[in-house]
C-alpha cells in the first residue's frame, strides 16, 4: 500500500496501474476521491505536463535558442548602435539593460501561447477538461492545474534564460540576487496569463480573438512597455501603455534584480502588488468561469 501513497509536489507518484490490478487492492473510492480533492491541481498539472512531452523537443530548443538569438542580436548587435549613440541606458550598457526585459517578455509571449488555443482546446476541440470533470476534480482545480504545469515550465525556461544572461555577463548583480529574475518572470507570466486563461475559457466560438490579442495586446506590450527603451524615451502621453502592462511592472523588478536598477521602494511595492493582484484576480475569475462552463 505504501507505494500508492500520493506524493505532494511535481513528482507525484509513479502510478503502477498493472501492479495495482494484479494486487487486487484498490483504495476505497472514498479515499481516492479524498486524495483528488486534496491535491487534484497537482494531478491535473501532471496530466498537462505529460501532454507537453509530445512537444518537449521544440519547447527545449526554443527555450535555449530564443534567448541566445535575442542576446546576440538585440544585446550585442543593436547594443553596438546604442552604445555608439546615446551611450549607457539607465546607467548600464545596452545588453545589461535589455536582457532582463527580454526574459520577462519571452516568458509572457510563451504564456500567451499556452493560455489561448490550449484552453480553447480543453473546452471545445479536444474537450480535455470534460473527462476530469466527471471525477471528483473541481473545475477550479483543473484551471489551477493547467496553470501550475505552465508555471513549472516557465521556471525551467526562465532558469535557462538566466544562465545565458550570466554567461553573457549581462547580469552584474550577485547571483543570488540576479536569479530573482526567474520568479519575477514567472510572476509576470501569471499576471498576464491567468486573466487571459479566464477570458479564453469564456469564448464559445473562436473567431480571431486570439489573433487580435496577439496583435493588439501582446505585440504592443512587447514593443512599447519599456522592453527595448525606457518609457521616458517615448512621449508622455504614451506612458500609460507601460502602467497598465504586466510586462512593464515585471521588467522594472527584473532590472532591480539583475543590475540593481534605481527603483524606489514604493514603486517596487506597486509593481509587486500589481503583478500579484492581476494573478490572484485572474485565478479567481478563471475558477468561476471554468466552474460555470464545466458544471452547466
Amino acid at each position: 500500500m505504501t507505494d500508492l501513497s500520493p506524493g505532494t509536489g511535481a513528482d507525484a507518484p509513479e502510478f503502477d496501474a498493472a501492479g495495482l490490478v494484479a494486487s487486487g487492492r484498490v483504495p476505497p473510492h472514498t479515499e481516492m476521491a479524498a486524495r483528488t480533492r486534496r491535491s487534484g491541481s497537482w494531478f491535473y498539472a501532471e496530466t498537462t505536463l505529460r501532454g507537453m512531452r509530445a512537444f518537449a523537443l521544440p519547447i527545449a530548443v526554443y527555450a535555449v535558442l530564443q534567448p541566445l538569438l535575442y542576446m546576440v542580436a538585440l544585446g550585442v548587435g543593436l547594443g553596438e548602435l546604442v552604445d555608439r549613440g546615446t551611450g549607457p541606458v539607465d546607467g548600464v550598457d545596452y545588453l545589461t539593460f535589455v536582457a532582463p526585459a527580454l526574459l520577462v517578455s519571452t516568458v509572457v509571449m510563451s504564456v500567451t501561447a499556452e493560455m489561448t488555443y490550449p484552453v480553447m482546446s480543453g473546452f471545445k476541440w479536444q474537450r480535455l477538461y470534460h473527462g476530469p470533470t466527471a471525477s471528483p476534480l473541481e473545475p477550479g482545480q483543473i484551471a489551477r492545474g493547467h496553470l501550475l504545469a505552465v508555471v513549472l515550465r516557465f521556471v525551467l525556461q526562465g532558469g535557462v534564460f538566466w544562465v545565458i544572461m550570466v554567461a553573457f555577463g549581462a547580469a552584474p548583480s550577485a547571483w543570488w540576487q540576479s536569479v530573482l529574475v526567474v520568479p519575477v518572470g514567472v510572476l509576470t507570466a501569471t499576471a498576464f496569463g491567468t486573466p487571459l486563461q479566464a477570458y479564453a475559457s469564456t469564448i464559445e466560438d473562436e473567431a480571431y480573438q486570439f489573433a487580435f490579442i496577439q496583435r493588439f495586446v501582446v505585440m504592443p506590450m512587447f514593443l512599447f512597455a519599456g522592453t527595448f527603451f525606457p518609457l521616458s524615451a517615448m512621449p508622455v502621453w504614451l506612458h500609460w501603455i507601460g502602467w497598465v502592462s504586466p510586462v512593464w511592472h515585471g521588467t522594472q523588478l527584473a532590472r532591480v534584480a539583475s543590475y540593481g536598477a534605481d527603483v524606489p521602494a514604493v514603486m517596487m511595492a506597486v509593481h509587486l502588488a500589481f503583478l500579484l493582484g492581476c494573478t490572484v484576480g485572474g485565478v479567481v475569475w478563471a475558477t468561476r468561469s471554468y466552474t460555470r462552463r464545466l458544471h452547466s
Binding site: A54, V76, T86, F224, F228, F229, A233
Partner: protein
C-alpha cells in the same frame, strides 16, 4: 473566370502539369477572402506599423543616426522602415504558403480535390502563390503610405518598393510552399519559426551587419531576407547600383526553384 490557356497550343509536358485555368484557383481564393472576417486581413497591416513606431521613435532616441546606403547618414526610423517592409512581405508570404498550405494539404485535403478536376499541379501552385501575393501587395501599399506620410522615404524610386515587396513575397511563397509539402506534423512546422526568427534578427534589419565578423556576415548575405532588406533600403533613398540587380535576381532565382519544387512535389503527392 476564363480559361486563359485554351486555344494556345502547348507542349505535351506542360499540359500534364497545367490546364492554364489558374483563374479557377484564384476565384476560390477570393471567395474565401470575401467570406472571412475582413478585420483579420486588415489587422495584419498594423504589425509592421507598431514595430516602426516603437523601434523608430523609441529606439531612435537611443540610437540617433546610422549609416544608410551609399554611406549617407539617415535617421534610425528611416533606416529600419524599408527593412520592416521587406520583413512583413516575408512574414505574410510565409504564413500563407506554410501554415495555410499545410492545413489545406494535410487536413482540408483541398489540393486533392482540386487535382481531381482538370487542374494541374502547376495551376494549383501558381494560384495559391498568387493569392499570397495579393495580400502582400495590399500590406506593402499601406505600409508605404505610412512611411511616406512620416517622411521616411526621400526618393521617387521608393514607389518601386511595392513591386519589390511583391517580388520578395513571391520568392518566399514559392519556396515556402515547396518546403511545406515535405512536412507532415505540427512539430515540424515549428521548424519554420526557428528559421524565421534568426533571419529577422540578423539580416541587417535593426542594425548594420558590420558589427559581426566576416564569416558571419557571409552567412547572413547568403540568406534571402538580407537581400530583400538591402533591396528595399536602396530603393527607399534611390541609391541604385549593380548590387540592386543581384538582390532582385536572387528572388527571381528563388521563385523559379520554389515553383519547380512545388510542382514536382504536388505531382508526386497526388498524381501517382
Amino acid at each position: 473566370m476564363g480559361a486563359a490557356g485554351h486555344g494556345i497550343p502547348r507542349p505535351a509536358w506542360l499540359s500534364s502539369l497545367a490546364s492554364g485555368n489558374i483563374g479557377a484557383v484564384l476565384e476560390r481564393g477570393f471567395a474565401v477572402v470575401r467570406n472571412q472576417n475582413w478585420t483579420v486581413l486588415a489587422s495584419g497591416f498594423f504589425e509592421p506599423v507598431f514595430y516602426l513606431l516603437a523601434m523608430g521613435i523609441g529606439m531612435g532616441a537611443l540610437v540617433g543616426t546610422v549609416t544608410g546606403p551609399g554611406g549617407q547618414p539617415v535617421e534610425y526610423a528611416a533606416y529600419i522602415a524599408p527593412a520592416l517592409l521587406a520583413t512583413s512581405a516575408m512574414n505574410g508570404a510565409i504564413y500563407d504558403s506554410t501554415w495555410n498550405v499545410f492545413f489545406k494539404l494535410r487536413f482540408a485535403k483541398l489540393y486533392e480535390a482540386m487535382l481531381q478536376t482538370s487542374l494541374g499541379p502547376l495551376d494549383v501552385a501558381l494560384g495559391e502563390i498568387l493569392m499570397a501575393l495579393f495580400r502582400g501587395f495590399l500590406y506593402a501599399l499601406g505600409f508605404l503610405g505610412v512611411i511616406a506620410a512620416m517622411g521616411l522615404v526621400t526618393s521617387w524610386w521608393s514607389l518601386l518598393m511595392v513591386p519589390a515587396a511583391v517580388l520578395i513575397a513571391l520568392g518566399f511563397a514559392a519556396l515556402g510552399m515547396g518546403v511545406t509539402s515535405y512536412l507532415t506534423s505540427f512539430q515540424q512546422m515549428d521548424l519554420i519559426n526557428f528559421a524565421l526568427l534568426p533571419m529577422f534578427l540578423f539580416s541587417a534589419t535593426l542594425y548594420p551587419i558590420a558589427v559581426y565578423p566576416d564569416w558571419i556576415q557571409w552567412c547572413i548575405m547568403a540568406m534571402p531576407l538580407w537581400h530583400g532588406v538591402e533591396l528595399m533600403r536602396q530603393l527607399s533613398v534611390g541609391h541604385l547600383d549593380a548590387l540592386t540587380w543581384v538582390h532582385a535576381l536572387y528572388f527571381v532565382g528563388m521563385t523559379l526553384i520554389g515553383l519547380v519544387l512545388t510542382t514536382v512535389r504536388l505531382r508526386a503527392l497526388f498524381l501517382r
